[in-house]
Symmetry: C2
Subunit: 432 residues, 2 copies
């Protein structure tokens, strides 16, 4: 089970104050679980892991089978925000570091519709022309500008390349169950569809088909991921001061109230770079409102110890860091001995590279605490589907509790509309 | 020439106060250019572009020729921090979005030695086994743990695969001119070497062989990049309140003094993601000391408008954003018309995707200003080597001025040693 270590905060807090924050977090947990808080029509994510059955899993896997049968070798997943970051985070975490270079064993998954860059769009079209391509389009409404533009172009490409009928078999839509442009089009064309339930917001949707279908297509075990999330769901529903989600939520609110305005998501595993991006959406969008909220940032160590490390050590003392530790590496490499030892590394000969990484992590923790940066640590056993499922659910649960404790609605995002309204006016969209 | 637009700050500042900050920035510029400030033995970067001659450029290009002749198809560039981020930023900015998937036209460049992940290391070895590989190793001392570990493994692989003599022809070292482990090894083995001058710090080294050799190997025009930097060097040395580097430095200090603790580097071009990482090292490491400094963060829009957008619009009002605009796309895609128009996009039919991107940018600027986030805009004509060279030099110059104006030494990084000392103790390194 996900473990949490808050000892790296001891130097910064008084135990009795922390206890008060834990009690408040327990109240927030009750609000969340009893569905009595603001935004309580978006709580469907809470019991998703335990309520997702074999039929739903098999339905996701049927897409994989169908496309492998068609000898598809490239899947373009179209989506933005919560319809992009969960799948991206999981696929990056689980893939070979050089998967794109190596050519994939199964289906290669790339993302589109998450920006409006003309260069990116043109280059995506270069790529699809060289592959046997299929497409997953993810949009509740079907009218969000970025994915809609990408989908128009992909749909045309697929229809021109494979003919109308075959193109329909190469498009899967994940969308509203009844309404919206994408649902209408899917009905008309006969696309295979999956439902985005009304009670699950985008940033909480990684364990729905929004995340599961792309992750399964990339070749990963969504059943194990759901099992991890299910175990987390059970463990994190305990109403206890020992609940790690409660403790983490309490600590981040306590630190925030004491001037720590920035939370640095950090990991010593480069495969978690996009889990950091997912984390930033989850917490930034849930808490950043009403002039409040911890600013989420992310780093990968030791890489960024050689860039952001200086600031973290000695800059403004307005930050704390949350480090996700992966306790066991998946592969083995030891450091070779060298008869000359010019680089002076022989003291590490025979040691695992990950041993050095772990000592770097421990050394960093001590250094940052000394420098005035509270350190929270979250530990998983290894980087696999099961543990990632736990981690996704853990952060979602923390986020719900923490935002209620902060006093904001965790489940709305009123500020996201502002740029769109201006953009539509500038683009002369009818009605704006 | 790089243009700067500060009108997005008008609502937040008084002109007469800004004028005072500009005057202070001009004083800081004089300190920088007259070499009278702290850290003035690290000012070699200032005149690099104008002092780099054809011989130096040809020397970088000779590596490309030699390795193409050997039919090398993969180059592993080993380095961390400033020996990694500049080349990474440039290569990402200039490459096809799906270069890794497409197989490259010339030499494929990947990076190593910038982390201590065992999985990453093992997977790098998977990759090199499948390729005709060469290696650039970048380290002033040759003993920095991360690159030293990676280089031990790569050196062994190259020697075992190609034999000792051929391996030597496939290794280029960029290192100190006289001292250090890597210099000694290079002398002994006969590696081709390039010099890291004593007066250029890592984060200011992208326009030295540290950046130029990898960028040239990836197939890009380093001569054009240096030409851009040289034009920027000339333009930005004017001692005038109109100097865009002076104005930008003045504005960021003014905003910081008024509680804007976070600078968000933003771009609407996803190829600039790693320029954001380079920016974060440059400014974070130069200014984040003595308990001071703006915290640098980065986002790519419109992608992150659907993640960090909510926070930026309505969270804590402690941020301002610096947006790098690329005025012209390199490729062309227009939005197709659709007879049914279920997605309602026909109002955009025939329009360039980049037109929508530009309107998104304009709409975002207005929305963020309305929301209380000052907006600074930096514009380049197009994303090519010449403009990127300008941009690199521009940010370096701003950084030197801005850090002096803040009152810190821009060129040291005393905090970076803290984690290393702890790590060496934990690893039982002799002497610790």
């Amino acid at each position: 089970m996900v473990k949490i270590d808050l000892t790296g905060c001891d130097a910064f807090i008084k135990p009795e104050v922390f206890d008060r924050y834990v009690n408040k977090a327990l109240e927030a947990q009750a609000v969340l679980e009893n569905q009595t808080g603001a935004g309580n029509d978006f709580l469907g994510w809470q019991h998703l892991p335990s309520e997702t059955g074999q039929a739903e899993i098999d339905d996701c896997l049927s897409v994989v089978d169908s496309w492998l049968e068609r000898e598809v070798d490239l899947v373009v997943v179209i989506g933005i925000g919560g319809s992009y970051l969960g799948a991206k985070a999981a696929i990056e975490a689980l893939s070979h570091s050089f998967a794109a270079h190596l050519g994939s064993q199964g289906l290669k998954v790339v993302f589109a519709g998450e920006n409006l860059s003309e260069d990116y769009t043109a280059e995506l079209l270069d790529l699809v022309r060289l592959h046997n391509t299929a497409c997953v389009v993810i949009s509740k409404s079907g009218t969000t500008t970025e994915p809609a533009v990408a989908f128009r172009l992909l749909k045309r490409h697929l229809e021109e390349t494979y003919g109308k009928e075959e193109a329909c078999a190469r498009i899967v839509a994940i969308t509203d169950k009844a309404r919206g442009a994408l649902k209408s089009l899917s009905n008309q064309e006969g696309y295979k569809t999956f439902v985005i339930e009304d009670n699950v917001g985008g940033r909480f949707s990684v364990l729905t088909p929004v995340g599961l279908v792309p992750i399964a297509l990339a070749g990963f075990d969504i059943e194990a991921m759901l099992k991890g999330a299910k175990d987390a769901e059970a463990a994190l529903s305990q109403r206890s001061a020992d609940n790690p989600a409660v403790r983490y939520a309490a600590m981040r609110n306590l630190l925030y109230d004491n001037g720590k305005k920035i939370e640095l998501f950090a990991s010593f595993n480069p495969k978690l770079q996009y889990l950091g991006e997912w984390f930033k959406q989850l917490f930034g969008e849930s808490e950043g409102k009403d002039g409040k909220g911890i600013f989420p940032a992310s780093v990968i160590f030791t890489t960024d110890l050689h860039s952001m490390g200086q600031y973290i050590q000695q800059g403004e003392r307005i930050l704390f860091e949350t480090v996700v530790t992966v306790e066991n590496a998946g592969r083995e490499v030891t450091i070779p001995s060298d008869p000359q030892d010019l680089d002076g590394l022989n003291y590490l000969a025979g040691k695992h590279v990950e041993h050095c990484n772990r000592m770097a992590q421990l050394g960093t923790k001590m250094a940052h605490i000394d420098g005035g940066v509270p350190n929270l640590e979250i530990r998983i056993d290894r980087l696999d589907e099961y543990n990632l499922g736990q981690l996704f659910y853990f952060f979602e649960k923390v986020c719900g509790i923490s935002a209620y404790q902060l006093g904001v609605n965790p489940f709305n995002q009123p500020g996201v509309e502002a740029y769109k309204k201006n953009m539509f006016k500038l683009l002369e969209k009818p009605g704006y």
